[in-house]
């Protein structure tokens, strides 16, 4: 979000400037209009594309949330019926809870691990470039393809259980993706594994702006490692923290690929999140209206949580 806003600001600075003329002040209105017209020219095509490709379909989807469209044929306007069905609970409540569990665990784990990795690989370590590349590699792989590989790893007689048997920990063997108590941790592990590299890179970029002299000065003044981190490093990398946490929260809340590939929402809905429910209701059961309503609810939830997180981070960074 911050990135978008800053981009708009950047764009603004480039356009719209006209050389000052020596015309009278009464022509100020004309120049304003001219300037506004000129800026409109520049971005109208892009704005049109954005509206038609992004906002208009989203709006239509939002409209169909109030109908009982089945994907083809006739449909009727049903008002708030779909939302009432969502509020009724049952499977959608489980989906909501799972969405929060996965989303929040994902945000916390990727950021904590990413930050630790970034701190560890910031300086000193000789082979840090190689290690950074290895950690970042999963980010560029297809999440669907890697999920299928992880599915194989988690199989009953797959590599993980085999490994546990070979080191004598047979008691720890599980049906990882078929046991409701282990399925969410398994999915979170796959998601974190795939994305921690991205967060690490973001934090490395932020840490690059912290001058070593500042930390040296702090340690000379007797600050402990934790104090150095908390009072020197952390405030300096706050923008990176904001970006990383916002992006990971949004991604964590709307994850779909990994869950669909690993479990399809099973067992018996234990790993079903809102995104998976939306897919199932819309494309498997053909309830496009209901699926659109769910998608609308999910978007609202993500917006609310993201704004809340931003406010929280801003107050903590100012304080």
């Amino acid at each position: 979000m911050t990135a978008q806003l800053e981009q708009k600001a950047e764009g603004a600075r480039v356009t719209g400037r006209q050389p000052r003329s020596s015309k009278q002040n009464s022509r100020k209105g004309d120049r304003n209009t001219e300037r506004r017209f000129a800026t409109w020219w520049w971005f109208t095509p892009a704005l049109l594309a954005l509206v038609l490709i992004h906002y208009a379909p989203s709006a239509i989807g939002g409209f169909f949330a109030f109908t009982n469209w089945k994907g083809l044929g006739k449909w009727k306007f049903v008002g708030w019926e779909n939302f009432a069905a969502i509020a009724d609970g049952g499977p959608t409540t489980t989906a909501l809870i799972n969405t929060f569990i996965i989303g929040i665990s994902f945000v916390v784990l990727t950021n904590v691990l990413g930050l630790l990795l970034a701190l560890g690989l910031n300086r000193t370590v000789k082979s840090r470039n190689v290690i950074r590349t290895l950690i970042f590699a999963p980010v560029v792989l297809s999440s669907l393809a890697t999920s299928y590989i992880w599915k194989f790893i988690f199989e009953q007689d797959g590599p993980l259980n085999e490994f546990l048997r070979s080191i004598g920990l047979e008691s720890l063997q599980r049906t990882w993706l078929g046991d409701p108590s282990t399925v969410l941790p398994a999915i979170i592990i796959v998601m974190v594994w795939q994305n921690v590299g991205l967060v690490m890179v973001m934090y490395l970029a932020g840490l690059a702006t912290v001058s070593p002299e500042l930390e040296e000065a702090a340690s000379l003044d007797g600050a402990s490692l934790w104090q150095r981190f908390n009072y020197v490093v952390l405030p300096a990398i706050m923008p990176s923290v904001v970006i990383a946490m916002t992006l990971m929260l949004i991604n964590g809340l709307r994850v779909f690929d990994q869950i669909q590939a690993l479990t399809g929402g099973g067992p018996y809905g234990a790993s079903e999140t809102l995104a998976v429910t939306i897919y199932k209701e819309t494309f498997v059961m053909g309830r496009f209206g209901f699926g659109a309503a769910l998608a609308l609810v999910m978007s609202v939830i993500i917006i609310i949580l993201t704004v809340a997180q931003r406010l929280l981070l801003r107050t903590s960074s100012k304080g």
């Binding site: 764009g11 304003n32 044929g73 049906t175 078929g178 099973g266 018996y268 809905g269 053909g286």
Partner: protein, 469 residues
Amino acid sequence: MIQETQTDARLESTDHFGGQDNDVMKGHIMKKASSNAGRRFLSVAALASVTALALSACGGGDTNSSAPIAEETGPVEITLATPAFTGGGAGNPYLTLIDAFKAKNPNITVKLVESPNDQHGQTMRTQLQAGNAPDIFYVTAGRGNNQSFASLAEAGYLQDLTDQKWAADAIPASAKNLYYDEDKVFAVPADLAPITMLQNTGVLKQLGLQEPSTLDELITQCKTVRAAGKSYFAVAGTSGANTGLQAMQLAASLVYAKDPQWDAKRAKKETTFADSDWKKVLEQIVKFKDAGCYQDGAAGAGFDQLFPSVAQGKVAAAFAPAGAVAALRAQVKDGSFDVAVLPGEKAEDSRLIASPGNALAVNAAGKHKGSTLKFLEFLAQPANQDALAKANGNVSVTSAISSTVPEQFPLLEPYFSEPEKKIVSQPNYLWPNSGVYDSLGTGIQGLLTGQATPDQVLKTMDEQYDRGA
């Protein structure tokens, strides 16, 4: 000066995304859409495009099926779309038929297009709405899933075939309820896939076991197989289609043996899943689980692990359509595989599910209907139906029409020789939406993990059924 004016105006009119915006964009000049005129323009434009697109989306399905169908003599290309054929061998079974058709009609070229199995239904729906659907494509009978022809027909996307005599002739009397939608015909059956147990008969022989004739006998055999370090069945807990297949086979003997018209009763709301013998079906699955009939980790097993388990002799059987045995036999030359029917509580209760559910339908908006109907008529001829069934390992529709026993499945003889008594329709073709079968499949996974009870699963099935078409 201009700068100040603009910044002041911004502070008044911007809707804030946190007050941070002012910190970040201090001194920035552009106001963009924060001017009233700009905002109004955008909202009007958005509203117009939303309305336009929404109206065009609900348009769909106005067809010209009443226009006369002309015979075409010039070179024509038509497309046939089917799910991807994964049986190996000579490839998609339609290819040989396409070549035979081309020999007889040199001016018509049929192009075959395949889509991934689980996406074929959605692909067809999208293409039909977009107007670029193939001329003829695979559908399933009835209305129980997203490949079913009934909802497509009701939306007006399919060509009416009622006045084509060869189409009516191709529909067996026992399958009329699957193919006639208010006395109209929109699809023609392609072949029959009996739903059976795929057995590794070598495993049974090795353990000295005979074909079980009752469910209790099967449970005893499960324990023997377990003791030998194997399991009787391999089920894919994560695949609702596979667990549902097993449930339907149990229902064939536990529900439909006593009441072959149960689905018609359910449609008239004279019964529900919850207070019917479907409860026995789910309880039987729990009994299987407790007796160790399923492989370890069945709840988390995927569909791709089933056939290797049977092929390698780790399990005695898996649930699959009968045609899959041909693929198994082709891949494992020295194994012995066969199909069998799941027994009932009593030997005489055993029933075989064999519905002509695979079908073909014609696009109502196709450009070459004359040639397309000619091709479909060709496929509907008994000799060609036999050829198709031979190529893909399924049973020819002609067997259902003439009550002859398919030669590739001699073990199914007792069922095909008395079809009215011993063969039942596939239940999920007659259910109003795909949610019912889906909740059955996921519900069984819940039974395997212990997350759900039979009553809970049946309740969900009833809820989905009552949501209607």
